[in-house]
Each structure stands twice: as C-alpha cells, then as structure tokens.
Amino acid sequence: MSLNKFQIAQRISKELKNGYYVNLGIGIPTLVANYIPKKINVVLQSENGLLGMGPFPKRSDVDPDLINAGKQTITTLNGSVLFDSAESFAMIRGGHINMTILGAMEVSENGDIANWKIPGKMVKGMGGAMDLVSSSDNIIVAMMHTNKKGESKLLKNCTLPLTGKKCIKKIFTDLAVIEVTKNGFYLVEKAPNVSIEEIINKTEGKIEISKKLKDIEI
C-alpha cells in the first residue's frame, strides 16, 4: 500500500528533533505541522517574517497584518518574533534553519531539485525556494514518487529548470524513503506491501537498496 500525503507528512514528522527551527514549504510539507510529536519543541519559520508560526486564527482573531508565506492568515505563539525579509533570509542563508521541507517536481540522483518552472507554462516565480535549497545541509523533499502521467520524479538528470544543485539529502514519497548519496539514490525504507521492484521500476535514476531496508513505520 502506498502512503497518502498525510502519511508521508506523518513519516517526515519523525525526522524532527527537539530544538529544531524548521521551514515548511507549501503542499505536503505544510501538513507536517499537524504531526509534530508533543514531546519535542520545534519552531516553524515563515519566510515572510515570522518565527514561531501558530495555527490558523479563530474567526474573531483574523488579522490581515499576520499571514504566512502562503498568504494564509495565521497566529503567533508565546515567544514568536516578527522581523523583515532581509532578516528572514539572513536566517535562512546563514544556516540557522535546521531543516527545510519542500515539495518537488523532480529530484535527480545527485541531489538537484526542480520545483519552480515548467517551460511553456506560466511561470509564477521561485519565491524563496532557491534561497532555501542553497542554504542548508538539511533539505528534505516530500513528493509523490511519480507524476500524474505515472513517470518517475526521481531522475538521472532533472529535465526541468533547476531550483538548486546537489542540495537534496533525503526524499520522502508515497512509496519510499530515499537518501541521496555520492552513488545516487539509496533506498532505506519502503511503504508496507510495496515491492522493491515497483520502487526500482518507478525510479529512473540509479538506485541502491540498503541491506537494512525496512518498512516505513507511521
């Protein structure tokens, strides 16, 4: 059984460690916030200028001057800090964010990521993604293993314009948890009842299987 997007988010939440400052991209990454273990303290950064992002507000507390990077109304928490965009990206580029979780259209076996532009389609822009992927040693991708046409998103080389080069360390899909190593993709966990063959078939890039391969626990 492949995982659904909530289960992918749930699996990723186990990567969080106590004391982490984390930036969550739009899509599956945002869902990770719902599964942060109660025992640990994690602070969410929103790159438009907030550290300590809280949940959506109650209807009576909606404040147009308080939004996240997805332009959604949000709240602050005890200990939150507000700052400007230069400070926000100083934090990001300076490596102060411990983990960044992003969606992707394609990831290559050397860790390149493409997630901002499809030639021929309207280009909306990279927003903060290029800053985020180039700035940390701990960039995690959350995505489906294949696209809507059933084609692999884990490629030998990305075909779409890149967001960043050699920056992805770990990929969480509906089928597997895959590390990116010097030798390409490295399968460390697979979804229960999904065969290794299926994962290999759906991975275009070079992939090795860990001897300690185990089922994803959620």
């Binding site: 147009p64 308080l66 996240n68 109304t73 580029r93 309207m122």
Partner: protein, 234 residues
Amino acid sequence: MINKEVKDAKEAVQDIFDGSTIMLGGFGLCGIPENCISALVQKNVKNLTCISNNAGVDDFGIGLLLQKKQVKKMISSYVGENNEFERQLLSGELEVDLIPQGTLAERCRASGAGIPAFYTPAGFGTEVSEGKEVREFNGKSYILEKSFDADFAIVKAWKGDTSGNLIYKGTARNFNPMMASAGKITIAEVEELVPTGQLDPNFIHTPGIYIQRIFKGINYEKRIEQKTISDESK
C-alpha cells in the same frame, strides 16, 4: 527634528515621473502602500519599473497599475494570482525579472547600505546564475548580485512620526524596511501619524533618516488573500 509630513498620497507621489523605477513594499497584499498605489493610478504615470516581491491580484495592489498598463517591467520573486499580469506577460507587453526572494531582499538592503554587490548561494547552478559571476568561498559556490538603483521607494508602516521614524506591525513589515532605506526619495504612508517624540527611540524599525515624505493614509482595505480559520469546534 526634521518635519517630513505631506498632506496626502497625491502630494507624496507628485514628482514620480514616467519611466521611474519604484520599489513598493509588501508581501502578497500584506503591508502594501494602498494609498500611494491609488494615487499612482489616478496620476496615470506610465512605463514604471516596479520592484516588489509580488504583483498584487487583478483588482488590488499593483494589479491596479497593471490593469491600466502603467507598468513596463516587474522585478519580483513570485507573481502568481493575477490574470491580467499573465496576459500582458504572454503577449509581450510586460517584462518580468524573477529573482529569488532572499536575493531581492538583500539587493534592496544593499542599495540602502552602500554595498554595491555581494555574493549569495541562491540560484547557483540555475538559470538565475546565467551571465553572473560565480565564485567559490570555502568550497561552496556563490553568485555575485548587485544593488538596485530606485528613483522612489514607497512603503507602508503601522505608525510613524513626523520626522519619518516608522514602526511596522506583524508580517506587514516584510520588504518595507529595506526598501525604505533604498529609495533616492522614500515615501512612507502610515495608519497613525504621531508628533515627533511619541515613539520609543529603542523600538523604531525604520529610522527617519531614510524617509523624505510621510503622510497619514486613509481607508485601508487590507484585503486578505487566503482567509484561513481554525476549526473552532476543536
């Protein structure tokens, strides 16, 4: 202190000329200079180059300037949510320069801070780095990015005093402080304008030295793009 108060948006933008390069603060529709945008629409100044993180929506924010075809070029990090923008872009009427959000912020800051250029990792190995100098420091590759040269910067703050000192609220701060520092002429519109001496000198976000004109804005709509609400039954 130096009094920088002007009457209203119309007076504040009176010398913005056709072909100006203008920075506009805000992230999405949050913290945008609503009054000055309206005054620019009324003034019908043309061929603007707008440096702004986003381009508004069809009927609000910079979208209002786009609808009247006043914008020649947008320099932004993300320009979704705008059909007229898309039409003008695809038809070739509008130029767009897309740059990483952190680079946009830092180039604005550099403009105000007398730093002509700096190195950043953002965009290395992507089309953003095409034609730019690439250089390695401590084994990592960076690209050289330059400061902007803006004729005007227009920012929105929560409170200000007549000498131009500004305070922002919530995430409406965003690009406003670094743009405030970067205009040859910087115009600030504020929700509340107080006499000099009312703001605590320890807690001012933008020092008045960067501001040439300030006025109390009116009728703020503060439109919300994504009103997201907690499930209150929980």
